[in-house]
């Protein structure tokens, strides 16, 4: 047991002694200060240790040994000890960061800094309300003074505004305290709580004044203009401490007062916090200044914390849960926000787009990434777990508005934070960093601390399997060796992943899981070869690639909804980082992450409605007998459909696919989208007990899929950029999968899975081949290429095989997927959907021909005469996929039988579906049909080879001619560029059908974005920069809250 008085005394003593020591040696003074912080933190930690070993120990301490009313009570419980440790650690880090300032200003600054921390420590420890006021004042006054030290005009003005607002808040607090004392006769908070509610309006007003005093200090929107200016103009080291330590102390004070509040008051504060969270984030969305953005973000975060504490308290949850959630958020926020302020001091650039300078130091960039991602609430950071539980609690208590506000605010937060990250990673900037050891130490240690803590958290978190840690370990380990040559890393990655997949992943899965393991993990591994083509280190690929693949594994093996969601988020994060690596991918990646997060929140909500699962068994196994409600299914489906790029939410898809690195796009398109399929299938399994094929919902889902396929195909036929074409093509193909899944029948699911496997093979094949074309030609515009068949025959063969498979022309496996889709649709009587599917698959010919003709056939361009075949690393995956396609085309049973067996575990195989050798026979009452892929292959070979032999016989001696030896209406061509028919190839088609492809989704989302921005701009106008206006705001805010309270 540590007596907390020691800490306070230590600070006081040090603060007074500083003046003397400073005379002796300034370094010694600074050192003393550091020692004090370290000791305080150590005492906190020791107390934690102590309490852990003796849980029942007395934690209340009375100054001077008297009981409560007579003396000031302090409490040094677990929470306090935790906070004390953290705050003093931060004091130390911040002190180190401010080392130069202290050296410059000497004793005054050191004393003020110590006083500030003393105030914060005191606020945490004290249980006496008047004492709280004293510490609050110490904290505030030392803060003004410290801000004033900067001696710039802005910071002085900001200091004055702060003083005004702070003074007002303290005054309100003090008046409130006086009146409460009038009713209770004591200043001890515990005694107040014990007395319960006093039925008097005046008491309530007094209590309200106490609360509002504290609340104003927490800078709620819109009464926070003073705080914004403060954050923006103060020294960033100081802003960091204010944002973390001061806010933390104030929050804890607010928390201490919570038991006093009546439910209406809690409601008001929760609402006000939520408003603050949402709107501050909304305004932050359009900030261009980094520190201003951080200021809004801090406001939002403290609003969130107030909201969380108040709301949870209102819901009468046990203290421990409230504390765990609040601390989870606070912990992340504490480190990340302070860290970002510190980084702002290092970057020294106000403009967000200038944060590209961070790229000069990859270590700082990583730290920055950790803070930003932590702040957004991605796993494994504690904020993630906090938000997860919050959502569950709100769902369980049906607090829909709070839930919506929380998710909306978080989404906005993701928007601006990721935009910032995008600037830092992608924007080139010539500026310099102001690096020094003292400045680097603080963000570095907090990043390491945050990461380590999160790492242990996810490892120790009850119910999380080891598979959830693999992605992070992969990120960490490959991140550490990221300077190694790409070829080495690739070989290691392939080896490790193959070992893991074969010996650990596959055996732990049921058959359906194995199918997806083959698609997701196997497909990725095969494509990893392509990344080995890079010379040198190719930083930034392998950590995220391996993370992505491991997260696929954890997705499939997930046994609880939480594991599923963590895997989903990690997967999103890894893919985002991979997309962001593309040359011009800043905006596309932002779009991707915003849409993905939106989808993830839908999913989160859906998952929160799900019943509990059985840890230890993969969800895919449990899905057969779990049953979920339709609301949960609806939202989760929405989340998965976004990842699949279904019509309407496909807006992110083309740009993300187009702008990512070519090999990455291949993985995104062929593998990542299948994760959505996995999820969708999982959901459908869970509702299969009461939703059948002829349910309205499934028919609607079927139409959604069909129209996705149709519009995707039409859009693809319009593109001139090969990657955009392929992106829309993927969208179209995923539409077929959605249709298949929507059938809720054995055959339908087999068709969807067959299509998924096929799509992996041919889309990866085409993307790899096209990646080699882009690599060699240096352009993605198809009309700039031509005649590459002579230069890159292997790529041509790959694309040829690919397009035959995509279009569904026999004998390749693509026909199988078409056959399955039609038969399953027709079998269920969905005739019109089958008709539209047929139309879309016919349109596929348009874009496929355009792809292969304009790139490989036609006239070769003179500036591409140097083009040669791609490096072997790009050819290996092509070879793998060609062999795979040939195998399943020749022997369709290799895949159809296992798929049928896998699906059969969930929806029993009907009797009328049977295999007769290679002949798949369908004898349902509604439909008869058959397909013998093997025989088709032989017949095709036969009818192909016989004419070929004839032609070779008759036409043995042909003169090989060159590209301009064409009949050109008795003229001769002069330019390959004008002889190559490529640009806008299907102009006539879009003359007839153009109204289908007007970019409605684009218009809609641009409208949403514009509206958001203009609302945010309008809101931001209340911040005039005038101190008096800000005071007025505070008054108006207070009155509004009071009126809303509705107390008579």
């Amino acid at each position: 047991m540590v007596n907390p008085m020691i800490i306070l005394a230590m600070f006081l003593l040090a603060a007074f002694a500083t003046a003397l020591i400073d005379k002796l040696s300034r370094m010694l003074a600074i050192g003393t200060m550091y020692v004090v912080f370290a000791l305080a933190a150590g005492l906190g930690a020791w107390q934690l240790y102590f309490l852990q070993s003796m849980p029942d120990a007395q934690t209340m301490v009375y100054s001077a040994g008297f009981p409560a009313p007579l003396s000031i009570a302090l409490r040094f419980g677990v929470v306090e000890a935790f906070l004390i440790t953290l705050m003093n650690l931060f004091g130390l880090l911040g002190g180190v960061y401010l080392f130069k300032r202290f050296k410059e200003h000497g004793a005054g600054a050191i004393a003020l800094y110590l006083a500030m921390l003393l105030g914060a420590n005191g606020l945490v420890l004290t249980r006496d309300i008047f004492n709280s006021f004293v510490f609050m004042e110490i904290l505030s006054i030392s803060s003004y003074a410290l801000i004033g030290l900067k001696q710039t005009k802005n910071s002085l003005i900001a200091g004055i505004k702060y003083m005004l607002a702070g003074g007002l808040a303290s005054a309100l607090f003090l008046i409130g305290v006086i009146f409460v004392y009038r009713f209770t006769g004591t200043l001890n908070i515990d005694t107040w709580i014990a007395m319960g509610n006093i039925p008097s309006a005046a008491y309530l007003v007094a209590l309200f004044m106490v609360a509002i005093g504290v609340f104003i200090e927490l800078k709620p929107f819109p009464a926070n203009g003073w705080a914004l200016d403060l954050y923006q103009s103060a020294d960033s080291g100081l802003a960091a401490i204010i944002a973390s330590v001061q806010t933390g102390a104030m929050l804890f004070l607010f928390y201490k007062l919570l038991p006093l509040f009546i439910p209406e008051m809690l409601n008001i504060f929760a609402g006000a916090g939520l408003v603050s969270f949402v709107f501050a984030n909304l305004i932050a969305l359009r900030q261009k200044d980094a520190k201003r953005l951080l200021a809004y973000s801090s406001t939002a975060q403290s609003g969130l914390l107030v909201f969380v504490i108040a709301a949870l308290y209102l819901l009468k949850l046990p203290d421990t849960i409230i504390l765990v959630i609040a601390l989870g958020l606070f912990f992340t926020n504490f480190f990340a926000k302070a860290g970002l302020f510190w980084l702002a001091g290092i970057v020294k650039q106000d403009n967000l787009s200038a944060w590209g300078v961070l790229k000069k130091d990859s270590g700082l960039l990583i730290i920055f990434g950790v803070f930003v991602i932590g702040l957004m609430g991605f796993p494994p950071f504690p904020a993630f777990f906090a938000k997860w539980h919050l959502v569950h609690i709100f769902t369980a208590t049906k607090a829909w508005i709070w839930l919506a506000g929380l998710l909306l605010g978080s989404l906005l937060e993701v928007g601006y934070l990721m935009r910032w990250l995008g600037f830092a990673v992608k924007q080139e900037h010539p500026g310099e960093l102001s690096k020094s050891f003292s400045k680097m130490l603080a963000p570095m240690i907090s990043a390491i601390f945050l990461t380590t803590a999160s790492f242990f958290l996810i490892k120790l978190y009850p119910g999380l399997g080891a598979f959830n840690v693999y992605p992070l370990m992969a990120l960490l380990l490959f991140g550490l060796v990221d300077y190694a040559p790409a070829k080495l890393k690739g070989a290691i990655a392939i080896g490790v992943l193959s070992y893991w997949a074969w010996f650990m992943l596959l055996p732990s899965l049921p058959l359906m899981g194995q199918v997806f393991a083959v698609i997701l993990v196997g497909g990725s591994i095969a494509q990893l070869f392509a990344f080995m083509r890079y010379n040198g280190a190719a930083e930034g690929f392998f950590p995220f690639l391996t993370m992505l693949v491991f997260s696929f594994g954890s997705l499939i093996t997930a046994s609880t909804t939480m594991e599923l969601f963590i895997a989903w988020e990690l997967m999103t994060l890894a893919s985002y980082m991979l997309i962001l690596r593309g040359k011009k991918a800043k905006d596309a990646a932002l779009l991707y992450i915003v849409f993905s997060t939106f989808g993830a929140y839908l999913l989160l909500f859906g998952l929160s409605l799900m019943p509990s699962t059985y840890p230890g068994y993969p969800l895919i196994l449990q899905a057969g007998f779990l049953s979920i409600g339709w609301v949960a299914a609806l939202f989760a489906t929405g989340g998965f459909l976004i990842k699949m790029g279904a019509l309407g939410v496909h807006y992110w898809l083309p740009s993300a696919y187009a702008e990512a690195d070519d090999e990455t796009t291949s993985i995104l398109s062929s593998v990542l989208s299948k994760a959505g399929v996995f999820g969708l299938l999982l959901i459908l399994m869970m509702i299969s007990s009461y939703v059948k094929s002829n349910s309205l919902s499934m028919i609607a889902l079927g139409w959604l899929g069909v129209f996705t396929a149709f519009i995707g195909a039409l859009m693809a036929a319009r593109q001139e950029d090969a990657k955009l074409l392929l992106a829309y093509s993927s969208m179209s193909q995923l539409g077929y999968i959605v249709v298949g899944l929507s059938l809720m029948s054995h055959l339908g699911w087999v068709s969807a899975l067959y299509m998924a496997v096929n799509h992996l093979f041919f889309k990866a094949l085409i993307f790899m081949a096209m990646a080699s074309v882009f690599l060699r030609t240096g352009t993605r515009n198809m009309y700039e290429m031509g005649g590459l068949i002579k230069k890159m025959p292997i790529a041509f063969i790959s694309v040829l095989m690919g397009i035959i498979a995509v279009s569904g022309v026999p004998p390749l496996s693509g026909f199988g997927s078409k056959w399955f889709i039609y038969t399953s649709l027709l079998e269920q009587g969905r005739y019109l959907q089958a008709g539209l599917v047929f139309f879309s698959s016919a349109i596929a010919f348009l874009y496929l021909y355009k792809l292969i003709h304009t790139v490989f056939l036609g006239q070769a361009k003179p500036n591409q005469s140097h083009v040669k075949e791609a490096p072997i690393w790009l050819i290996i995956p092509q070879g793998i996929f060609i062999m795979a396609i040939m195998a399943i085309s020749m022997f369709p049973n290799l895949i159809t039988k296992p798929l049928s067996q896998a699906v059969g575990n969930y929806i029993a195989k009907p009797d009328w579906l049977s295999w007769d050798g290679y002949n798949i026979v369908l004898n349902s009452p509604a439909l008869h049909g058959n397909w013998n892929g093997n025989l088709v292959m032989y017949v095709t070979m036969g009818v192909f080879i016989i004419p070929l032999l004839w032609l070779l016989l008759v036409n043995a001696k042909t003169q090989k001619v060159k590209q301009f030896n064409i009949v050109f209406a008795a003229e001769r061509p002069y330019k390959p560029e004008t002889t190559h028919y490529a640009y806008n190839m299907f102009a006539h088609y879009f003359k007839a059908l153009g109204f289908w492809v007007e970019p409605r989704a684009t218009a809609f989302y641009q409208g949403v974005s514009e509206w958001t921005h203009s609302i945010s701009a309008t809101l931001a106008r209340i911040y005039t920069g005038n101190g008096q206006t800000y005071i007025l705001h505070i008054f108006l805010y207070m009155i509004t809250l009071y009126l809303l309270l509705g107390v008579r």
Binding site: A842, Y849, T940, P947, T958, H988, A992
Partner: protein, 302 residues
């Protein structure tokens, strides 16, 4: 039946359809000539042309894909034919129709078209590509009513198996799909106009503006092969239509009779009408025949 015997019969039936298809082509040319008041070429002219083309002494090639284009085309034709049962109830003239159902046939039609388009593409001639783009665009449109009518057949008969579809139409001509599901037949016959590429849907081969379409660069035995395929492919398509809509055929004579009259439908239309532009024909196909097809499906589902 042993596989050898099967192969021999497949060859015989292929020979029959080739001769019949080419003769039909000759007859068509004769009919067009007579409509225009000419004598017209002899009926066997297509055979002479094929011999002549194969007898050319020189040939050029633009590359492997160009060389293989006609092979793809004829393989598509022969393959399509091979997956269709020719004579109902005959084990000898059933080809390899057990490998799949009507879906297989519908998709195998694309095999030749795709290969031809690729070969024409490697020829490097812009007109080839223009014609292919027109052809593909028109194809996406006219396949829709055809697919809808096939779906309507599925709704009607509950099977995709061509033999079973024929079997369902046995027992007097009133059992033919033509009379039991007239709307589907109308949609399919209109789409056949597009497939046969006679007027008014002949913009693909528009002989004067883009010399005869995709095969602009093809000549000699390549052209001979394409001409042969015209016979086989026309025969295969006609037999498919006969099987689906006109009760199939139980002997060679009725096969010839039926296919002849089915073909004459598009020939008569072709002889009488001028030509649509591409976008007009796309609009046409996606309006009336598609609507008819949808109605025919709805009639059988509601």
């Amino acid at each position: 039946m042993s596989i050898t015997l099967k192969l021999i019969w497949a060859f015989i039936s292929l020979g029959v359809v080739t001769v019949w298809g080419l003769t039909l082509n000759g007859i068509v040319q004769k009919i067009f000539a007579r409509v225009q008041g000419r004598l017209g070429p002899p009926v066997w002219q297509p055979f002479i042309d094929i011999i002549k083309n194969n007898a050319k002494r020189t040939a050029i090639t633009h590359g492997i894909m160009f060389y293989l284009g006609p092979v793809f085309r004829i393989a598509g034709g022969i393959g399509t034919y091979m997956f269709i049962p020719v004579i109902f109830g005959s084990v000898y003239f059933s080809n390899f129709s057990m490998s799949g159902d009507v879906l297989l046939v519908m998709y195998f039609i694309f095999f030749g078209q795709l290969g031809m388009a690729l070969g024409a593409g490697e020829g490097g001639h812009p007109y080839s590509a223009v014609a292919v783009s027109r052809g593909l665009a028109q194809m996406t449109a006219f396949e829709v009513p055809f697919a809808l009518s096939v779906i309507s057949l599925v709704a009607q008969y509950g099977t995709l198996n061509i033999t079973e579809i024929i079997a369902a139409q046995q027992g007097g001509f009133l059992q033919w799909t033509l009379f039991t599901n007239p709307l589907a037949v109308i949609a399919a016959m209109i789409s056949m106009l597009g497939m046969n590429m006679y007027n008014p849907f002949s913009v693909v081969i528009a002989p004067q503006e883009i010399p005869i379409g995709p095969p602009t660069e093809y000549h000699s035995s390549f052209l001979g092969m394409l001409a042969t395929n015209r016979g086989i492919f026309a025969g295969a398509k006609l037999i498919l239509f006969m099987n689906l809509f006109f009760g199939g055929a139980t002997n060679l004579f009725s096969l010839m009779l039926k296919t002849f009259w089915i073909y004459m439908f598009s020939v008569f239309v072709g002889a009488a009408y001028p030509r649509f532009r591409t976008e007009d024909s796309i609009r046409f196909f996606l309006k009336y025949p598609t609507a008819i097809g949808i109605i025919s499906i709805l009639l059988f589902t509601l």
